[in-house]
């Protein structure tokens, strides 16, 4: 991937800012998401909470299902490949999806290496829990970074932890001298040039979105106020009682995240949110966020 191509891919991520990207599993849900105001959809066979429940190996979705969603909506369509599974990524690129999410929600294909995303023309989004992880993914060619949170939990606590960690890491870099940045790059396991870039600019070199556990309009507002530029909502919409109304409410709250009066309006009278899981109910070995290196 040339520098021009990378900038074009970051360009699409810029267009998604201030919006909501919704997980959908079929044409019907994709159409509901689009008419609720989603700025993009993530097409996948099972949403994270079902993957968690069903167990087994979670793989790239059936391309036919993704293709049907591409035909049904005019907003960008994203799809997930397994961590390190560059052949799945090649298939998704041939399908001309608009973004590939190399995602911890699917079962990893490689326990040491992620996809070398510079080999692709299509943009990639990757999850992170801290700045070092974010910068490793950007070095591999990711055009967009999101927090991992804990997908399918309906619990915002991990997304908050990851966003705060990334933001704290960035602030800390800004206080360090060049020689300290060398040591810090080593500690973080991140390339020095990107560490210096973040220290100078005070932000990630690519857009920074939130994902993993967002279930309410106020959750979206919280993540945006913590520094997210867009939110991904996975199970939170289609595992709730009235997905269309909740989808629209999350979109409106994301646009007006700083305006508590508007978030209040959006929050009123929504039917039940997804039930969700406390982190103590998810054994460490089953936490999706632990996947990725």
């Amino acid at each position: 991937m040339s520098k021009d191509q990378f900038n074009i891919n970051v360009g699409l991520a810029e267009m998604l800012k201030g919006g909501v990207i919704m997980d959908v599993t079929n044409v019907e849900e994709a159409v509901i998401a689009e008419s609720a105001g989603a700025c993009a959809v993530m097409a996948l066979e099972r949403i994270p909470s079902d993957i968690r429940k069903d167990g087994g190996i979670a793989r790239m979705s059936d391309p036919k299902m993704i293709q049907e969603i591409q035909k049904a909506v005019s907003i960008p369509v994203m799809a997930k490949c397994r961590i390190g599974h560059f052949a799945e990524a090649q298939v998704l690129e041939a399908l001309e999806v608009d973004f590939i999410d190399e995602s911890e929600v699917l079962t990893p294909a490689d326990e040491h290496n992620h996809v070398w995303k510079h080999d692709f023309k299509v943009p990639f989004v990757c999850g992170c829990r801290n700045l070092g992880e974010a910068l490793r993914r950007i070095a591999e060619g990711a055009a967009l970074i999101r927090t991992k949170g804990e997908a399918g939990s309906g619990n915002i606590v991990e997304a908050v932890r990851h966003m705060r960690t990334v933001m704290n890491d960035i602030s800390r870099l800004q206080t360090l001298s060049r020689e300290q940045l060398v040591a810090e790059a080593k500690n973080m396991g991140a390339p020095l040039d990107l560490v210096i870039q973040v220290s100078e600019s005070g932000k990630l070199p690519v857009p920074n979105f939130a994902a993993g556990g967002i279930a309410t309009p106020a959750d979206a507002s919280l993540m945006m106020q913590l520094g997210a530029e867009t939110v991904f909502v996975g199970s939170g919409i289609f595992k709730s009682e009235d997905p269309e109304a909740r989808g629209k409410a999350v979109v409106e709250a994301t646009t007006n995240f700083k305006n508590a009066g508007k978030v209040l309006e959006a929050s009123k009278g929504l039917k039940s949110a997804m039930k969700g899981l406390d982190m103590s109910e998810i054994p460490e070995s089953e936490r999706l966020q632990e996947r990725g290196w």
Partner: protein, 203 residues
Amino acid sequence: MIKVGILELQGDFELHHNILQELGYASFSVKDCTDLENLDGLILPGGESTTMSLLIDSFNLRKSILDFSKENPILGTCAGLILMARAIEDESKVNPLGILDIEVSRNAYGRQIMSRKENITIELDSKTFDMEVTLIRAPKILKINKSINVIAEIDNSPAAVFDGRHMGLSFHPELNGVTFFHEMLFSSSNILNFKNSESINAA
């Protein structure tokens, strides 16, 4: 100081703020009809036109933007251009504002894999300006009213149009840091022209 608002419902509004800052204009966020008061111009940014169209109606902004357009210049880039159109080909998901007398086709340049940079040349006041801009899942302008000026073409289609009051671009100058179009539309002389033509029209 020239005061330009940016419709911040969804999209790449931040990049437009940067361009306005570079030009020394004051930039403001517009999310509500009261935000339009006292502005000299408005930008409809890039992003998703379906999302923006929906939110324009959810937040009752349609009439305010149309009223504003009668007295002030509006610049639309990509999704913003789609929103400014009179008609959209085969499309019911976006309810356009009809500020520019053009018909557009959404995503006509294809999916993200077809997005690209493009060098364009503009001739203005017998001077030539070369610049690089970016097409992201871009719309195509299919038909234009004869009275509308085509400022730039891409693939033999109009890509930048100006009707003497408002400007629509199928590409993103803001992704390449190009200030040309913002300056052309929102410069004090053009805003003065707009106000003068308004008072003549009103008379």
